[in-house]
């Protein structure tokens, strides 16, 4: 018993193994391709699409953008914007006591007129932050306290899109000097007045932390990235998904004081160029672009998004985008690869398998979307779906083929076995006897011909029986004479076959038979199951065998199988002197059981004049005929 179970497990494992090998090969291949970075572009595409499909978010009113647009430049009739205009702008803004001002316009050299005035404004504004560019081509900051300088360098992906925010990095000229970005400066300044200061991480000491929030630092293999430049401290940009994510004013709006003062008071104000001519635009597809050309966003807007995402996370619990450690990502991919193998392995119809794989893929994509939207978790989607579909669909073909081949092999083996047994039990025995008799020179010409004819017919029966077996499988009955009877044929034909085959058997009492009167007529068999037909055949066979074995001196045998109105009869009547048939034999019990099933009667009577054995039942009335 234990052994059988063990064998079954081994068999199941062996079958599973057939697809598991190509399954794990696919898996390995996908992981390899992922490592080459081939999927990066597709992963970014999915990532951006998921972000774009997010529900719309509210305006972040902690930040206001002052965008100097083409109209402003037209009215100034000067570009770059003269220092005086900036000084005036900052002064005006300061009247409304903003929490921090970011000047996202480079001022590495004076733009007269008004340089003196701007320098003075820089000196007195402790909440003002200016910009520099640290990485080549470098751009120097204006003269101001170093804690008021933030860099505006950005790291782009290979497809030219901006998805990350560079928060801090060592100065390439002086490794001891750790530079902060404008984003970080503004966020730090804003949060400082909330009593939250910038600290080192606790779980990851290399990252930054505001209160309880650690900024999830990018590493070269984060999410869909492969061998990306993760220098400095970078985090992924979780753009605020909205048509107008921030309040925005133009230079002219500020000059003419055409705004709600609440937009400036205690806010972060970021000043930048919002005109295509300033060339301060970035390519993004993660959100719909607001003002400029499709797929583009102004630098000042990027700053706003970057600052907003940190502050919203710390104060509102909005999520930053984070990724799993590589190990978990590969475990995730492998897990779904195995789900694919299992789906392929399940013995389902191919179309059901496809539906299964389809549902699993939808679940997988859905789960990836929900994880990103609700928890900001970016997990690999493309290789995971690919391995699931490849394994699920590809292995279905594999397993289906294997199953078909296996069943064909089994069929063939059983046919071979069956053929051998049949030939061995029949013609081979006769043949051996014949050889023996020939050797002993005991055989006459006539007998030889009759024996050879017998072998001929036995060999043909093998073929007939095989053919029927293929056609009907369980719908046949092997009777004692070795013949297969097709149970699909009409009942009276089937019973006649049982009758004629059984009477050919070599039973002692058949030798005295002079007259056989068969009467086989069609019977309404619509309500008989194959099993009941089988039992009826066995009943007739048993009854006829009893005649052969026990009806001494029988000369006449009448066999009826007929229907009179709704009464069906199978009856065997002989005129032998029958004494020894016990009425409690196995055959009798079976006959009684069959009679009960058909709601009929079984009747058997022996007398010196002969024996009657009969089964009668009524056909059920059909409701429709």
């Amino acid at each position: 018993m234990k052994r059988a179970v063990w064998q079954k497990i081994l068999d199941t494992y062996a079958r599973w193994q057939i697809g598991a090998l190509p399954g794990f090969t696919f898996l390995g291949l996908i992981i390899f391709v992922r490592l080459t970075g081939f999927f990066q572009y597709h992963e970014w595409l999915v990532f951006d699409s998921f972000l774009r499909w997010r529900p719309t978010e509210e305006v972040d009113d902690r930040i206001t953008i002052i965008g100097i647009n083409e109209a402003d430049i037209q009215s100034l009739k000067a570009y770059p914007i003269p220092d005086r205009e900036l000084a005036l702008l900052i002064d005006t803004l300061q009247e409304y006591q903003p929490r921090a001002i970011g000047l996202d316009i480079v001022r590495d050299h004076p733009v007269e007129p008004g340089h003196q005035e701007l320098t003075a404004v820089f000196e007195k504004s402790k909440n003002l932050f200016v910009v520099e560019k640290v990485l080549p081509e470098t751009i120097a900051p204006p003269i101001i306290s170093t804690v008021q300088i933030g860099f505006i360098d950005a790291v782009f992906d290979n497809d030219g899109r901006l998805r990350r925010s560079l928060l801090g990095m060592p100065n390439p000229q002086d490794r001891q000097d750790y530079k902060h970005s404008l984003t970080l400066r503004l966020a730090t300044a804003y949060l400082a007045s909330e009593g939250i200061s910038l600290e080192n991480g606790i779980r990851d000491v290399k990252t930054m932390r505001f209160g309880a929030v650690e900024l999830p630092q990018i590493h070269p293999y984060s999410g869909g990235y492969v061998r990306t430049d993760a220098g400095g401290l970078q985090i992924l940009l979780n753009y605020r998904n909205s048509q107008n994510p921030f309040h925005s004013l133009s230079l002219n709006d500020v000059k003419s004081r055409n705004f709600d003062p609440a937009w400036l008071r205690d806010r972060i104000i970021i000043i930048g160029m919002t005109t295509p001519s300033a060339k301060d635009v970035f390519n993004i597809t993660a959100i719909a672009s607001s003002h400029s050309a499709p797929g583009e966003i102004y630098g000042v807007e990027v700053q706003a998004h970057a600052v907003s995402q940190i502050i919203s996370t710390v104060l509102d619990g909005r999520s930053l985008i984070w990724t799993w450690a590589d190990g978990w990502e590969y475990l995730w991919i492998m897990g779904w690869g195995i789900v694919g193998i299992i789906l392929g392995w399940l013995p389902l119809a191919p179309h059901k398998n496809f539906i299964g794989v389809g549902i699993a893929s939808i679940c997988l994509v859905g789960a990836s979307y929900v994880l990103l939207i609700w928890w900001g978790l970016w997990i690999p989607v493309v290789p995971t779906v690919l391995v699931l579909v490849l394994n699920g669909v590809g292995l279905t073909a594999f397993y289906q083929y294997d199953r078909a081949m296996r069943s064909r092999l089994n069929e063939r083996q059983s046919t071979i076995n069956h053929t051998y047994t049949t030939i061995h039990n029949g013609p081979l025995q006769t043949l051996k006897l014949l050889i023996k008799q020939s050797r002993d020179r005991e055989i006459h010409q006539d007998e030889l011909i009759s024996k050879l004819t017998q072998i001929d017919s036995e060999l043909r029966e093998v073929y007939e029986s095989l053919e029927r077996e293929v056609q009907t499988q369980e719908h046949s009955l092997r009777i004692g004479s070795g013949q297969e009877i097709n149970l699909n044929a009409p009942l009276h034909e089937t019973l006649y076959q049982v009758y004629s085959q059984t009477l050919e058997r070599d039973f002692p009492c058949y030798r005295t038979l002079q007259l056989k009167i068969p009467n086989f007529e069609p019977i309404d068999e619509r309500h008989l199951s194959i099993e009941q037909k089988r039992s009826l055949c066995q009943f007739l066979e048993e009854a006829l065998c009893n005649v052969g074995k026990h009806a001494k001196g029988v000369t006449r045998l009448r066999t009826d199988c007929l229907q009179k109105e709704d009464q069906c009869i199978v009856r065997v009547k002989d005129n032998g002197s029958n004494s020894s048939v016990s009425s409690e034999g196995r055959g009798t019990k079976q006959a009684m059981q069959l009679a009960r099933q058909l709601r009929g009667k079984f009747h058997r009577q022996s007398s010196p004049e002969g024996t009657i054995c009969e089964l009668t039942w009524r056909t059920k009335k059909s409701w429709f005929s």
């Binding site: 017919s457 007939e464 076959q497 004629s500 009477l503 050919e504 038979l513 009167i517």
Partner: protein
């Protein structure tokens, strides 16, 4: 007797999927019935298509034939076809050619009930013997000796037994027998051919009286006192 039949124009339909066998059979038939109109079919489908318009007197058929062109031959197809034909044309004459006659046992009840001629001819029979069987079938006789059980005893239907008793014990004419048995004259003739087949009484060249021979054999077999 065959001379009489030669006077009429016989229509014979032969079905066999083996070209050579078909040609051999047709050659033999043409020699024997020079006036006859002989048509052929190679599949069950072809035969069923030709039958209604051709209205043959005799169908000479192989059991092992394909259902349609391009399919393999199976004895089941032949048996099913034979069953269908016997049902639709109860008086059509048949000569069944096969190398394995025992397959016909399956439809013995239908053969017993068939009113037309029905003879079997093993493919290993000589042409002369084969033509004899064809002739018998055309005469409406039955020859199924090859299907009979090897072991003892005659197999006979109750009606045929009654016929023997009425004819030889009560010495009645066929017309009277038909009345007593509540069947047609034609059925009585059909019973006679069946009984003669059971008793192995077939017409022979010596032109013995068949009825007398039948009576003799029936007495020997103990069917009548």
């Amino acid at each position: 007797m065959s001379n009489n039949l030669l006077q009429q124009k016989q229509k014979i339909l032969v079905i066999d999927d083996h070209e050579t066998v078909l040609n051999g059979t047709i050659y033999a038939l043409k020699q024997h019935y020079p006036e006859a109109e002989i048509r052929t079919a190679q599949t069950a489908q072809q035969l069923l298509e030709q039958l209604p318009s051709f209205k043959p007197d005799l169908v000479v058929m192989d059991l092992s034939i394909p259902e349609k062109v391009g399919e393999h031959d199976k004895s089941d197809v032949g048996i099913q076809l034979l069953k269908t034909l016997m049902q639709q044309y109860p008086t059509l004459n048949f000569t069944v050619q096969s190398s394995y006659m025992k397959a016909l046992v399956r439809i013995k009840p239908a053969i017993d009930a068939h009113q037309g001629g029905f003879t079997v001819a093993d493919k290993s029979l000589s042409t002369k013997e084969m033509l004899k069987r064809v002739d018998w079938a055309l005469q409406g006789l039955t020859y199924t000796k090859d299907l009979k059980a090897i072991h003892s005893g005659l197999e006979i239907k109750q009606d045929w037994l009654t016929l023997l008793q009425l004819a030889f014990e009560e010495e009645l004419q066929d017309k009277e027998i038909a009345k007593r048995m509540l069947v047609s004259d034609r059925t009585v003739r059909h019973y006679w051919t069946k009984v003669q087949d059971v008793l192995d009484v077939y017409p022979d060249e010596g032109k013995k009286n068949i009825r007398i021979q039948t009576e003799k054999r029936a007495r020997e077999a103990g069917l009548i006192d």
